[in-house]
């Protein structure tokens, strides 16, 4: 049997790969210098390591290392990209922003903040499969659309947006295009030499690197400008001040190097596991997969179990570590806004589980999960008055519920 709890929450965060930890430790011990120190070898050694890691990150996404700026994570990258570009270009271009209802809060919240500062934002509704209709995106573009932000891979449902098509529309419209790729590195090919993308956010801890480090790609040709959001010593060519955490940067570099080397093989293995999980869970009645199955990373499976309630479901499956909705929102009892944007009912949104599979998931883990879900769903449905009504043929959506 697998060791419980089984970790199936790789989209919330990944464990640090041992090779990454090993690469980091020397920079916590003997090479502890501040990379901004220009007067001694401690500083130079740290600086060399930082620049080497920058090359490694650039290599995974095929850009120039000078186009990579370090941040404290994808949240900061998104904030810097969105607020930085919108503010810089507002005067010349306008104050309209386009994004999508299913973006991560780290995109939605900065856009909301800009709205408070007088920008106007369009939050596009995706199709029921989670993908953006390109025609609708095109129709939303205006002459004063200064910025568009669309994520590459969705954190809850794993769907992959057509970044190239969206980027081309932005280019034609003179709109800066930002892409949150926090969930994409090591899962889908990213070629920034070809992609019409101006700004792209990355995070290390979704790709077996440490937490607290991320990067923002800022295109140099044509040059994209930003208003800095963090002021100070002028690190990172002025884009982002603050002492660079050398060990974390080294960790991100190594993690991205491993991702580049191993993603093809790893993704094939993960896809087999995901397909097995899907086949197993599909044997349960009244389950619904959320999000498009084809245009999706192999790591993600998001399923709603009808007629059981979300929290009790999570309690029932506490031997597996999964998310109901994204980690950042699971402290509140709101149903996932991503699933609601796909048109899922509150009930189905509440009763969804995101399984995310990763580097250390085994076949046994998947078998165990399938068996556990089958038993627990049956037990909860035995307890569920809604399941009883469904079996009696009552259409629950037609019942008038007393509000309380």
């Amino acid at each position: 049997m697998s060791k419980t709890p089984i970790y199936l929450d790789y989209s919330a965060t990944t464990p640090v790969d041992k090779r990454v930890a090993e690469a980091m430790i020397p920079y916590l011990t003997e090479h502890f210098g501040n990379p901004a120190s220009r007067s001694h070898s401690f500083g130079w050694t740290a600086d060399d390591a930082v620049e080497n890691a920058r090359e490694q990150v650039a290599a995974l996404v095929n850009c120039d290392s000078k186009e990579i700026a370090w941040t404290s994570g994808a949240t900061e990258s998104n904030n810097l990209a969105i607020k930085g570009a919108a503010n810089f270009y507002a005067a010349s271009k306008g104050k309209h922003i386009i994004t999508v209802m299913t973006e991560h809060k780290a995109v939605i919240d900065p856009v909301r903040e800009l709205e408070r500062q007088g920008f106007e934002a369009t939050f596009l509704e995706p199709e029921p499969n989670g993908l953006l209709d390109i025609a609708k995106f095109k129709a939303a573009l205006r002459p004063d659309t200064v910025l568009a932000s669309v994520m590459l891979v969705n954190n809850e449902i794993g769907v992959i947006q057509d970044i190239e098509a969206i980027g081309n529309l932005c280019r034609a419209n003179g709109t800066i295009f930002h892409v949150d790729a926090a969930q994409a590195t090591g899962k889908v090919e990213i070629n920034l030499e070809k992609l019409p993308v101006d700004l792209m956010s990355f995070s290390a801890h979704k790709t077996y690197g440490p937490k607290g480090i991320g990067a923002l790609y800022v295109r140099r040709k044509p040059r994209v400008r930003l208003e800095a959001q963090m002021h100070g010593g002028g690190h990172e060519r002025g884009f982002r001040s603050g002492t660079l955490p050398t060990h974390q940067i080294v960790g991100m570099g190594e993690a991205f190097r491993i991702a580049k080397d191993e993603m093809a093989l790893e993704n094939a293995r993960i896809r087999r596991l995901r397909d097995k999980l899907l086949a197993g869970l599909s044997e349960i009645e009244e389950v619904y997969v959320n999000g498009d199955l084809k245009q999706r990373v192999p790591h993600n499976l998001n399923i709603s179990f009808n007629y059981v309630e979300g929290e009790s479901l999570i309690m029932a499956v506490k031997d597996i570590a999964v998310s109901s909705g994204s980690a950042c929102t699971s402290a509140s009892l709101e149903p996932s806004y991503v699933l609601r944007a796909l048109g899922r009912s509150d009930e189905l949104a509440h009763s969804s589980i995101r399984f995310s599979i990763g580097r250390y998931t085994t076949e046994e883990d998947v078998d165990y999960t399938i068996d556990l879900l089958k038993i627990k769903i049956e037990k909860l449905r035995e307890l569920s008055p809604l399941w009883e009504m469904f079996q009696e043929g009552i259409d629950i959506s037609k019942v008038e519920w007393a509000a309380h």
């Binding site: 309630e309 929290e311 509150d346 008055p385 809604l386 309380h404």
Partner: protein
């Protein structure tokens, strides 16, 4: 979210799960809550000719605290007459299960379910005579 041992116990081993015949004159059925709010409780009681609750059953769609609240009240209801049953307060339930503030609404729902079941029973019996 940390649940109390009592909530966990009721959740793992819910008491009196099931159904009573809702067409039986001696059975009152209360259904409260709404799926969209995340909780639906169905509570049924059966009284004997002396008006004492002989049996209680429930089914609940909801979080662990909602399941525990309804499971607990089925235990408390048995052996009580309707007037006694009406005195069960949500605060008693919340206290017994050590519910955190965000889960107090579960105990309120359980109290509402008792009232609804009794109202249903009284209505049936009133029509009867």
């Amino acid at each position: 979210m940390a649940y109390s041992d009592k909530v966990l116990d009721h959740y793992e081993n819910p008491r009196n799960v099931g159904v009573l015949d809702k067409n039986d004159d001696h059975v009152g059925t209360g259904m409260v809550g709404a799926p969209a709010c995340g909780d639906v409780m169905k509570l049924q009681i059966r009284v004997n000719d002396d008006g004492v609750i002989e049996d209680a059953k429930f089914k609940t769609y909801g979080c662990g605290s909602a399941i525990a609240s309804s499971s607990l009240v089925t235990e408390w209801l048995k052996g009580k007459n309707l007037d006694q049953a009406m005195t069960i307060k949500n605060s008693d339930i919340a206290e017994e299960l050590a519910l955190p503030p965000v889960k107090i609404h579960c105990s309120v729902l359980a109290e509402d379910a008792i009232k609804a079941a009794i109202a249903d029973l009284k209505q049936k019996q009133a029509i009867e005579v």
